[in-house]
């Protein structure tokens, strides 16, 4: 089961966080991850955040891709 999408945390209330992407907002359960704050991006699967998105790592992958495409 792999469908998951990155969304931004805009509000945190206990074990739940309001997440948003392009104007779409809903409540996700954040019990599976630690140390989240407003502004973090999380990967959400079926209503649960399963990991924080590491944007530096995402940037590194993008750089590899750009090099690939240039060749």
């Amino acid at each position: 089961m792999c469908l998951a999408v990155p969304l931004e945390i805009v509000e945190i209330k206990g074990n739940k966080a309001t997440v948003e992407r392009s104007g779409v907002r809903f409540e996700a359960d954040i019990r599976l991850i630690n140390n989240v704050k407003v502004g973090d991006f999380v990967l959400v699967h079926a209503g649960f955040a399963i990991q924080k998105v590491n944007r530096e790592e995402a940037q590194k992958t993008l750089e590899i891709y750009d090099q690939m495409v240039d060749k």
Binding site: C2, P6, T61
Partner: protein, 334 residues
């Protein structure tokens, strides 16, 4: 010479189709769809057991995709059309809200999924326990990907040269299970993401590794996959579930490839209340050989005749990500 690379994730099957990547890599890589769709690997017997439970008066909660899979006597959707109480959910916790709004005497959750979904089912059990709810049972159909990969690598008929490892399963389990596999098999195991960029980076890497005969694990989805995975999610799974044998459609029974509720939570396990083993049916079709890469969809005798997307015989044709369904569409193009 093209290398056979298998992906074991329904979303990878879908993304590869969407971005036309089979075409992009056709000179060097033969991209094969493996048993990566939990719907496709749910055994026919399990569907029949769920239908039986529904007939006995249980309300069935399920993810939408499972409703269309045929058992011997029909689908969950058919039984709903005939008056069965079958409800679709998107988030397992919705079951609790729904049953509070519309009470049922007994309900069963058909918990299909791999490691990405397992922590969510564990969270549901946690809520059931803390709310002391005892009218919702779990029918665990949860399966683990690495044991299936192991079996596939042992099978010489599948002829797999490398794996595109499932992105979000890996978010939960991390790199370590693949590192264990790479000690046994000298193949490339590359963890890939889902947008075109991530997929091309991963597939390019697999291609390079195959060309230079390099084995091992590479994490090409490091924005969300950590080496150790999500430890909190892993702990939650371990708290409520233990590894057990599981029946995979097409692969048969694989030891320690599934999750079942621990003894102390067995009161939530439908199988500890009902003996369903006697309900057993056998796959009509060779879907299993397709998802293990042994035959191409067109080599199945039902393909295109009795088995079409409108009237599917097996799960590979039911699911829009199934190998047979995808192949049927491409075939129409020629």
């Amino acid at each position: 010479m093209s290398y056979r690379v298998m992906e074991v994730c329904g979303t990878h099957t879908h993304a590869i189709m969407r971005y036309g990547l089979k075409h992009v890599y056709k000179e060097k890589l033969d991209l094969i769809s493996g048993p990566g769709c939990p719907v496709c690997v749910t055994s026919q017997s399990d569907i029949d057991r769920l239908l039986y439970l529904c007939q006995q008066g249980f309300r069935i909660y399920s993810f939408s995709d499972l409703l269309k899979v045929p058992g011997e006597k029909g689908t969950l959707r058919d039984i709903r059309a005939g008056g069965g109480d079958v409800r679709e959910i998107y988030n397992p916790l919705q079951i609790i809200d729904d049953i509070k709004k519309e009470p049922a005497e007994y309900a069963v959750f058909a918990a299909i999924g791999f490691e990405t979904t397992a922590p969510l089912v564990a969270a549901l059990v946690e809520e059931l326990v803390s709310n002391q709810m005892n009218n919702i049972y779990i029918y665990s159909l949860l399966k683990l990907i690495p044991p299936a990969m192991d079996i596939l690598l042992q099978d010489s008929e599948s002829r797999i040269d490398g794996f595109l490892c499932p992105g979000h399963v890996s978010v939960v389990i991390g790199e370590l299970p693949y590192i264990e596999l790479s000690k046994k098999y000298n193949n490339p195991f590359v963890i890939g993401g889902f947008d075109e960029m991530h997929l091309r980076v991963a597939l390019d890497k697999i291609q390079k590794m195959l060309e230079t005969r390099e084995g091992g694990v590479v994490n090409a989805y490091s924005s969300v996959v950590k080496r150790e995975g999500n430890l909190k999610a892993q702990e939650l799974i371990k708290k409520y579930f233990k590894q057990s044998n599981a029946e995979w459609r097409g692969l048969g029974e694989i030891p320690d490839s599934g999750l079942s509720l621990r003894e102390e939570y067995s009161s939530y396990d439908i199988k500890s209340h009902f003996s369903l083993e006697s309900i057993r049916s056998y796959d009509r079709c060779p879907c299993g050989s397709v998802i293990t890469g042994k035959i191409q969809p067109y080599e199945c005798t039902y393909f295109g005749n009795e088995c079409t997307p409108e009237s599917p015989v097996g799960p590979c044709m039911v699911s829009s990500e199934g190998a047979c369904h995808a192949f049927y569409l491409y075939q129409q193009r020629r």
